[in-house]
Subunit: 210 residues, 2 copies
């Protein structure tokens, strides 16, 4: 199957959205926890969280602009902080359900049965059920003018992760934690390890790390 | 395990890199194919490709700045185009090996045994072994000043994907194609479907889509 730019433009809108959302490959599955200045909590699933740098520890995610009633983005702007919480296989239904358009006064925690958990130094709530929980302070909301989205950049200031999943070398075994990956708009996947490979050097092939 | 900002800063550099690279969750696995104005080809694995929008069809990825001898970024700037090629389980070793620091005159295609394939309308080469191949034209190289990286934004102008993997609704079954996900710096994973869920509405729970 070959589709060019004209072919893409000619696809029905929902079909194009499903297709193009499948093209980047597997995506991370995180719940963004926020609170308003009044203390109302909000929770939203995002599939666009990406690693931006390790020192300082920075992460980005993409959001539509706040103009279209985005409670998450408004809360991040108001308090300058948020949490990211990995979705694992047991909470996939509840996590997906946070994407429904609830009215502002409804907390997605209450609506989906997920449990808010206070952070150490932040007012934004964690998801108690998540096994990897990150607290972040906002660095920058960078406008992406080409399609009117926003790249939210945050610095990681708190990390909660089960001891048993962290290797001597810092690697976290997300597979044993049940963290899922997303494909397309609505598909959730566990993982099964193929290989862990040594740092690549020009003069030798990579070897398996156990 | 709880780590705060000071704890992170105190970690040995490689350990911090491995830890922080694990925190965003599973990442996409793509090979970026480029060519220089002289026709020299280049291939590099990236784990930071993310969906930016479906109409127009836009994708982003994060790169270190071109100042540190980045052949990929220089080529994208020179020709204004590149390809993205999904990594599947059978080419994980070769794909990983493209991250070795080969001299400029060495093509990672020749060095790793992957096969260049001409695109329809672009000079940047595809990876013949990949089952999902995208051709993109450069929209913008957006500097991310906070850590001196670059967000490369491109528009998808060519799509190659096996017919059999594309559903009526546009969804691509990446799992049957063997597309892998990455965790941390060096771990590659197949996937196993947990759920595909219906569009979320406030007044009802999500149901499984088969």
């Amino acid at each position: 199957m070959y589709i060019d730019k004209q072919g893409l433009a000619g696809l029905e809108k929902r079909r194009r959205a499903a297709l193009v959302n499948s093209l980047s490959g597997f995506k991370s599955a995180n719940l963004v926890g926020t609170a308003s200045a009044d203390g109302e909590s909000n929770l939203a699933i995002v599939s666009s969280v990406f690693h931006l740098g390790a020192d300082p520890a920075l992460m980005g995610f993409i959001s539509r602009p706040p103009s279209v009633d985005r409670h998450t983005l408004e809360n991040i702007e108001a308090l300058g902080e948020y949490t990211l919480n990995h979705v694992h296989a047991d909470i996939v239904h509840a996590a997906h359900q946070t994407s429904a358009r609830y009215p502002r006064e409804v907390s997605e925690f209450a609506a989906t049965g997920l449990t808010p958990l206070a952070a150490q130094t932040l007012r934004a709530p964690y998801v108690a059920e998540s096994r990897v929980r990150l607290g972040l302070t906002l660095c920058e909301m960078k406008p992406v003018e080409v399609n009117n989205t926003v790249m939210v950049i945050g610095e990681i200031v708190e990390i909660h992760v089960p001891d048993t999943a962290v290797g001597e070398d810092g690697f976290i075994d997300l597979e044993t934690l049940g963290t899922v990956a997303i494909s397309g708009l609505d598909s959730y996947h566990r993982t099964e390890k193929v290989s862990r490979l040594s740092y690549a050097k020009p003069d030798r092939p990579p070897r398996e790390i156990s």
